[in-house]
């Protein structure tokens, strides 16, 4: 297993606290943005961007992904690619139809 020293762990703990604060702030931002008068596409984009930032913080620091090995990284990258395919390609099929 990794040989993290006590100092390393204590540094990590400082990071966890900072990430927690950031997540709280971003949660407030998420809700606040929802009350702004924005068009639907912009609202969706903004909400997803903020969620992605929050998600990246959780993944990178709580889940230690920032320091993880390439096997994990590549598996997740491939998964993310297929996730995006699943999100967008069926949608594309509905936008390009023979009859409307």
């Amino acid at each position: 297993m990794s040989v993290d020293s006590v100092e390393d762990i204590k540094k990590h703990i400082k990071v966890y606290i900072m990430v927690f604060v950031a997540l709280m702030v971003l949660t407030v931002v998420t809700v606040g943005v929802a009350y702004l008068p924005l068009t639907v596409p912009i609202a969706i984009t903004l909400a997803l961007i903020i969620a992605s930032i929050k998600g990246s913080l959780v993944a990178s620091y709580f889940m230690h992904l920032a320091a993880e090995k390439s096997a994990i990284y590549w598996t997740l990258l491939v998964t993310a690619a297929f996730f995006l395919v699943l999100m967008f390609v069926p949608l594309l099929t509905t936008l390009d139809t023979i009859s409307r």
């Binding site: 390609v89 069926p90 594309l92 099929t93 390009d96």
Partner: protein, 581 residues
């Protein structure tokens, strides 16, 4: 401090009771055999369903002989099959063959038994999880089997369970969805186990490019199962809720059934099901073929006494194939009203995905050149796999071209295409694997005479069943018609093939009896062999037959590639992978 786990219970194996040793075993070899036997039973059952269907197709409206009375009045009053029953047989034949037969045998059976041995591991990475995977699979299988006895019978909306028909179908469909949930869960747990095993437990010296090709195919297959199955599980939940909770995920607004408007909220999308289903089901067909290619490769290398030609291109091809398989699914949906741009996208990816398949098949063909062939039963099946899969693959090309698919979609041509790939394709390779690895599992060989009768009879009958389907399909004969199409004028000229196809199917069934007898007889009375009767190079042959608990008497080390046959200057015509010097 205990920092290492022992292989389940290696030290006190002799203390295991009967149930823990043979039923609730955590040993990958026992689990592999459990999967194999269970899958073979389901394969036989699925085959029986088809044999009954083929009666109806050859002699529509005639009472089924001998067993007609056993079907029950709800299914076949007076022994004459009702359309509803035909539909049950069709849907369950497909479901059982794919999900309870072929995949559990190819992955659960062969994968479990062979992979840890071929990589020099003592067992799978998570033995308890392995055991759980088998039992969850069995529960799913029993749920599927039990569905025949539900009111209204088993699922009858095709193995594809298209909505909205499946949402309003009889109770058996709910059982199907529950059964699928168990099967998908079992697959996911298995896939995790396989990947961790192949990544982490390879013996020292067994680098990626020294892996037997069979292991590569299992690795890609595991990734396909891991990432493609979950959306179908999601879809199954959606359909379950539509059926039991009154939701309308798949029910469009204003749907009318038998003259009455459905009282649901509407707003659903029938195409949503197709997208989620085929997102899995396309990678699923590669799950069906990849292990078969792997088995064929192993047997060809061994029985030609020379290395595989093009190992590296084959590896790159199989990995590329895995990726591509996730972006071709809508070639099953060309006729759903998709526009030309998106259809062109899927047509292009589909054409591209044929390239790695061709590379692998060509490499296997070229591997035969200059061979010292040994025409044993496993080799005969492996050799036959090549042209049979070739026919299956080539007939897929017109289906992948959107314009041609307009004519061929949902015809017998499609059925002929995919059966060529799976039946004289994959299943032949699986038979080859059984004959090939039977000595490793039991210490005895199967009988060659019975094996050859099984082979030749099956080869002829397979072609007798499926080749005429191409003719019928090209004439435009639709699939899933319980009367075999007698009501349609445009197929009258090709109807006569039905009789010959049915007799071929029943003949095929008869020839499997030779296999069944051979299998069980050889367990007790087969010719005893040593550890390596085929004189093969891969690691599984460097351990006793059958291997002991923990597999290897001393930890193996790998010193060379997997197919060092006929090495110039070597003393014997094969050099085992783990041999020191």
């Amino acid at each position: 401090m205990d920092n290492v786990t022992t292989a389940g219970h290696a030290e006190h194996e002799h203390e295991l009771g009967f149930w823990q040793k043979y039923f609730f075993s955590q040993d990958h070899k026992v689990i592999g055999i459990q999967y194999t036997i269970t899958a073979l039973v389901f394969l036989l059952f699925g085959f029986l369903l088809m044999m009954i269907m083929r009666w109806q197709l050859a002699y529509p409206g005639q009472p089924i002989p001998v067993i007609g009375g056993l079907m029950g009045d709800a299914n076949a009053p007076g022994g004459i099959m009702l359309p509803e029953f035909y539909n049950q047989l069709g849907a369950m034949h497909g479901t059982i063959m794919v999900f309870l037969g072929v995949v559990p045998l190819a992955v659960g059976g062969f994968g479990n038994f062979v992979v840890p041995l071929q990589i020099g591991a003592p067992d799978m990475a998570f033995p308890k999880l392995n055991m759980a995977s088998y039992w969850v699979f069995l529960v799913g299988g029993l749920v599927m089997f039990a569905s025949f006895f539900a009111p209204g019978g088993a699922a009858n909306s095709g193995w594809t369970s298209y909505v909205p028909l499946s949402v309003i179908a009889t109770q058996g469909q709910t059982w199907w969805l529950i059964g699928m949930t168990f099967l998908i869960t079992s697959s996911l747990l298995g896939a995790i186990n396989f990947i961790v095993t192949m990544v982490q437990l390879r013996a020292p010296g067994l680098t990626w490019m020294r892996l037997p090709f069979f292991v590569w195919t299992q690795l890609v297959t595991a990734f396909l199962l891991l990432l493609a199955f979950p959306p179908l599980e999601a879809a199954a939940f959606l359909q379950l809720m539509d059926r039991v909770a009154g939701t309308s995920f798949f029910l469009p607004s204003g749907l009318v059934v038998s003259g009455q408007a459905l009282e649901v909220s509407g707003g659903g999308s029938a195409l949503l099901w197709q997208h989620l289903f085929w997102f899995l089901a396309h990678p699923e067909v590669y799950v069906l073929i990849l292990p078969a290619m792997g088995i064929t490769a192993e047997i060809i290398a061994c029985n030609t006494r020379k290395p595989l030609w093009g190992y590296r291109p084959m590896v790159y091809s199989v990995v590329f194939l895995g990726f591509m398989s996730f972006i071709v699914w809508a070639h099953h949906m060309f006729l759903t009203g998709m526009g030309t741009m998106i259809s062109a996208f899927f047509q292009t990816t589909t054409m591209i995905i044929s390239i790695p398949s061709v590379i692998i098949l060509s490499a296997l063909f070229i591997s035969l050149y200059g061979a010292s062939m040994r025409f044993t039963t496993p080799m005969l099946f492996a050799l036959a796999f090549l042209p049979m899969f070739g026919i299956g693959g080539l007939t897929g090309l017109p289906l992948g071209l959107a314009a041609a698919d307009i004519h061929l979609h949902d015809t017998l041509y499609v059925i002929g295409h995919f059966h060529y790939v799976v039946a004289p394709g994959t299943i032949f390779a699986l038979f080859a694997g059984i004959y090939h690895w039977f000595p490793k599992a039991t210490g005895r060989k199967m009988n060659e005479v019975l094996g050859k009768i099984h082979f030749w009879g099956s080869l002829v009958c397979m072609n007798g069943v499926f080749m005429p389907m191409m003719i019928q399909g090209l004439a435009g004969m639709n699939r899933r018609m319980y009367d075999g199409g007698i009501g349609y004028e445009h197929v009258q000229d090709v109807l006569h093939w039905n009789t010959m196809m049915s007799f071929s199917a029943w003949g095929l069934g008869l020839f499997q009896v030779f296999f069944i007898i051979n299998f069980f007889m050889s367990i007790r009375r087969g010719e005893k062999t040593n550890d390596n009767p085929w004189e093969a190079t891969t690691l599984e042959w460097e351990t006793p037959s059958p291997p002991p608990h923990g597999n290897f008497l001393s930890p193996p080390e790998v010193h060379r590639g997997p197919y060092e046959y006929s090495v110039p200057g070597a003393a014997t015509d094969f050099t085992p992978q783990g041999q020191r010097s």
